[in-house]
């Protein structure tokens, strides 16, 4: 598990999507986490300290796992870039049925182009 800064994470996520176009899947998990071990958390709880939470984002393609975390201040910027990546990479999903039918109809209307042969006297 490699904990990256948000921007390198997004770059690595993009290449994960690129690597898995022909076969394989990509998983992305969001979880609320304090990024601290249970021992530390318990210690803090007994000491009455407030535990700070962030949103942990993990991604894997089955071979490699990467992760990053965003807090309350920077999550909006991250989620915008993340959404852009998803939009650019999730291109295998089906468009609406209605549009597909129209496209099929267009394909049938292919006009026949007759070829003219010209002979040139040199």
């Amino acid at each position: 598990m490699v904990l990256l800064q948000p921007d390198p994470f997004l770059n690595e996520l993009t290449s994960m999507f690129e690597r898995s176009t022909e076969k394989g899947s990509v998983w992305v998990t969001l979880k609320r986490s304090s990024l601290k071990s249970k021992v530390v958390r318990n210690k803090m709880a007994t000491a009455g300290e407030e535990i700070d939470h962030r949103c942990l984002i993990r991604a894997t393609d089955g071979k490699k796992t990467i992760s990053t975390s965003v807090g309350a201040k920077d999550h909006q910027r991250f989620q915008a870039s993340y959404a852009t990546i998803l939009k650019a990479r999730m291109t295998a999903l089906k468009k609406r049925e209605r549009k597909d039918k129209r496209k099929a109809a267009d394909a049938d209307k292919k006009t026949k182009v007759s070829k003219k042969k010209r002979s040139r006297a040199l």
């Binding site: 999507f17 898995s20 176009t21 022909e22 076969k23 394989g24 899947s25 990509v26 998983w27 992305v28 998990t29 969001l30 979880k31 609320r32 939470h53 962030r54 949103c55 942990l56 965003v70 807090g71 309350a72 999550h75 909006q76 991250f78 989620q79 993340y82 959404a83 998803l86 939009k87 990479r89 999730m90 291109t91 295998a92 999903l93 089906k94 468009k95 609406r96």
Partner: protein, 103 residues
Amino acid sequence: MVYITSWDDFVEKSVQLFRADPESTRYTMKYRHCDGKLVLKVTDNRECLKFKTDQAQDAKKMEKLNNIFFTLMSRGPEADISEVTGKEQMEVQPAKKGRGRKQ
């Protein structure tokens, strides 16, 4: 495991699940390009909610759910998500209006 078929149902139930146990609830999406399939899963290790699709329009809906979970997880389970869910719709609509007449 049974997939939930209604999107709104899935969103409502997964937010409920997260709010009931923010510490152990996670939200996972799995995308398989070669089959063109997208699976969303929310679980707290006791209950598991899943949604499966192959439609591009559902990816747009997922974007909204992503925003909901980013907000809830980084700001806390009490965070106001009414703004997050409604925001995009309000931003998208004015852009379509007011650009000349169509005739």
